[in-house]
């Protein structure tokens, strides 16, 4: 998908003749999608917005409390821990997901024998569900799991991937990157397919080596794709839940220090005693930050372009 908020460029001015049509038909086209999205995503989210100003609990109706929930957020240590971790996640994961899949795409771009097999194989982690991936990695990184027995065999000794606060967060990030590589690789492959080969040939004629061609030809040509990947992956990274939840456990690692914002939404808002109002306020903050992140990335792109 393209950064949907990107400016509509007038590359394809619509011929006036095409504009005339039956007045109802565009809405008929859009109706199924709009109905589903409206009824099951947007409408529920509006109720979240409403709830964020109440002290509603799972089974008890709430009262209007104004901005009390948002004020409470500012004094909630866990909120700041969550904000720190979600932000760290963006900082840690996004650069890796912008760069590594591009290199991977370059690696599988050439049609050498067997390459279709490699491409498909690299996509496998994307296909598996997060829960399965979580189970697999928890087993791999277990104190007695494969990674640690390999480390012990080569004499490094066992590492507490799943018990140290920072190692846990790093392990979760590694899993996110591992699972995201194939997905973004495919996006880059699409972009690379459209890089005119004349550019490479011209650069090669000028005597540019592969590294210089990468920076002078490939990167500029896929720059808009890199921005798109940055936008998508930062939004997803900020909303990270499953990887950390599965690896650090429901209480978020030692002393809850690995809690992310969405984990906090889940923890405070779920179950029969959930504080729906407070969790809604958290959700609204998460939503606002992701919108801001998206705009920020796109703005940075436009600024650079200008």
């Amino acid at each position: 998908m393209a950064a949907p908020t990107a400016p509509t460029r007038a590359q394809h001015p619509v011929p006036t003749r095409i504009r005339r049509q039956l007045p109802t038909s565009p809405w008929l086209f859009a109706a199924p999608g709009l109905l589903v999205t409206g009824a099951f995503v947007l409408y529920p989210f509006v109720s979240t917005l409403v709830n964020s100003f109440t002290d509603r609990r799972t089974l008890l109706p709430g009262h209007f409390v104004g901005l009390a929930n948002f004020r409470e957020l500012l004094h909630d240590d866990m909120f700041w821990t969550g904000l720190r971790n979600s932000t760290l996640y963006v900082v840690g994961v996004v650069p890796a997901l912008v760069v590594l899949p591009l290199l991977l795409a370059l690696l599988v771009q050439k049609n050498i024998p067997g390459i279709t097999f490699f491409r498909s194989a690299f996509y496998t982690p994307v296909v598996a569900s997060v829960v399965v991936v979580g189970l697999i990695w928890v087993w791999l990184l277990d104190e007695r799991g494969l990674v640690n027995s390999l480390l012990e065999t080569v004499g490094v000794g066992r590492v507490g991937f799943l018990s140290d606060q920072w190692l846990l967060l790093l392990s979760a990030m590694a899993v996110t990157v591992w699972k995201g590589l194939g997905y973004y690789m495919v996006i880059y492959l699409a972009a690379l397919a459209n890089v005119p080969r004349e550019l490479h040939e011209a650069a090669a004629v000028d005597g540019a080596g592969p590294v210089r061609r990468f920076f002078s030809v490939t990167v500029p040509a896929v720059r808009s794709t890199m921005v798109l990947v940055a936008a998508l992956s930062s939004v997803a990274a900020f909303k990270v839940f499953s990887e950390v939840y599965l690896m650090a456990g429901p209480s978020g690692g030692p002393a809850g220090e690995d809690t992310t914002l969405v984990m906090l939404v889940q923890r405070t808002g779920t179950g029969l005693t959930g504080r729906v109002g407070y969790a809604s306020a958290l959700s609204v903050v998460v939503f606002a930050v992701t919108v801001a992140l998206m705009l920020l990335v796109l703005r940075a792109d436009r600024g650079e372009e200008a």
Binding site: S47, T58, T176, S233, K239, T268, T273, G274
Partner: protein, 427 residues
């Protein structure tokens, strides 16, 4: 990653529409269970399908035969996400007629008017159950009892005799008091150079209870586990943690992971039940040969027990059938036959005097069973009914901070009590 928005929801949900039907009052069932037992009802259990399908199918067939004109539909929910499933059903008005609950789940449902008061609807059956078990589904601040007690569970402390011997401890003299436990644990850590821990879990609310800490005030309006005794227990755990006598990974341990540590000999003691013996035999034969079994350690003389209950939906349209079925599931005969299938204990009075729970036959399984049944007669469910999941997380995180040395034990418990009180007031 980006396409997993739905899958990402792996264990989460939060928000209810303002217009969802909940709270109490709008029609539905009555507490009058005296009518004719008939109609279609739904019975929901919690993670019992995988092992006990034939038992429940037989149970339901018996009930339908006893009361022609009834039909019971059995649904079972997996372990994970059960509170979320109940929340959605409660908020959406689709709660089944008869529901398997635990005391902490029944409290919010009772407060929302969704659990039937059985003192009113089924008071006559009260005497069939152990008094302590019946009381375990009462909610402080409310009058009434909101679920039939179902099965109980408790178990001994298992220990690894080989590890005891290696540390120079007498494998036939396991610790009986907290003083012995802590000194043995420190010795074990010293002798093994910090390689073998004795305990694998940080103290939870029931550990505080067993240590003799007062958990809540008498009225059930505020928590009190930050008293001198509570601080003492946490201080002792901190000493264990510093000496690696409490497993360094205890802060992130789950019951599964600590079980695994015991299985692999990284930890010397672990609480369990008769069920675990079979597991040891199969998965760790070496450990099984060295297994030691001792009683739970308490300062109060009362061991901890877990209680499961069966609640009746206050809005059921077939009150007589729902109450009759909930009682049927939990009556002495059916609890007894369930207990013979799996290592749990009936909550009906007198059942624990059955020879099955009193006669030794020389096997370890029976020995564990007999000892547990004996201790159950005075056992206590220490976890306060009002102690919600959010409160458990708050306590766990504060305890972790104290163990890491980031807060004093006193400060940590004060914070935990504050957080729990705040959550309690908001409920």
């Amino acid at each position: 990653m980006p396409l997993s928005r739905r899958a990402l929801a792996a264990a989460s949900l939060a928000l209810v529409l303002p217009l969802s039907a909940c709270g109490s009052g709008d029609g539905g069932g009555s507490t009058d269970a005296s009518g004719k037992v008939e109609g279609d009802i739904t019975f929901q259990t919690w993670n019992l399908r995988a092992n006990f399908t034939p038992y429940f199918e037989g149970l339901i067939a018996d009930f339908e035969k006893k009361y022609p004109g009834t039909h019971v539909k059995w649904v079972d929910q997996p372990a994970e996400g059960y509170p979320d499933k109940l929340s959605a059903d409660a908020a959406g008005g689709t709660l089944p007629d008869v529901v398997n609950v635990s005391p902490d789940l029944v409290a919010p449902l009772a407060k929302a008017g969704l659990a039937m008061d059985l003192d009113k609807a089924a008071g006559a059956y009260r005497s069939e159950y152990l008094a302590g078990a019946w009381a375990s589904h009462q909610v402080p601040g409310m009058s009434g009892t909101y679920a039939f007690p179902w099965y109980l569970n408790t178990g001994p402390l298992f220990y690894n005799k080989a590890l005891f011997t290696q540390a120079g401890l007498d494998p036939d003299q396991p610790p009986k008091t907290y003083d012995e436990l802590f000194s043995d644990a420190l010795r074990m850590a010293r002798k093994s150079g910090g390689e073998v821990a004795t305990l694998a879990n940080v103290p939870t609310i029931e550990d505080f209870g067993r240590y003799g800490v007062t958990l809540m005030n008498k009225q059930g309006t505020a928590f009190a586990f930050n008293d001198a005794k509570g601080v003492e227990l946490l201080t002792r755990y901190k000493k264990l943690y510093d000496a690696r006598a409490l497993d360094p990974q205890a802060l992130t341990a789950t019951p599964e992971s600590s079980g695994k540590k015991f299985l692999t000999g990284a930890v010397a003691m672990n609480p369990g039940s008769a069920l675990d013996l079979g597991n040891f035999k199969k998965n760790a034969p070496g450990l099984y040969r060295n297994i030691g079994i001792t009683d739970q350690i308490t300062s109060t003389g009362h061991v901890n027990m877990y209680v499961m209950g069966v609640m009746v939906n206050a809005r059921t349209r077939h009150t007589p059938a729902a109450v009759a079925f909930a009682h049927f599931v939990t009556d002495a005969r059916n609890q007894m036959s369930f207990a013979r299938k799996v290592a749990i204990f009936p909550s009906t009075s007198g059942s624990l005097n059955d020879p099955y729970f009193t006669k030794e036959d020389g096997t370890d399984e029976t020995r564990v069973r007999v000892a547990a049944a004996k201790s159950l007669k005075s056992a206590v469910n220490y976890t306060p009914v009002l102690f919600s999941d959010q409160m458990k997380t708050a306590l766990r995180n504060e305890v972790a901070k104290a163990l890491q040395g980031r807060e004093s034990p006193r400060q940590a418990l004060d914070n935990a009590v504050d957080a729990a009180d705040r959550l309690l007031r908001q409920s």
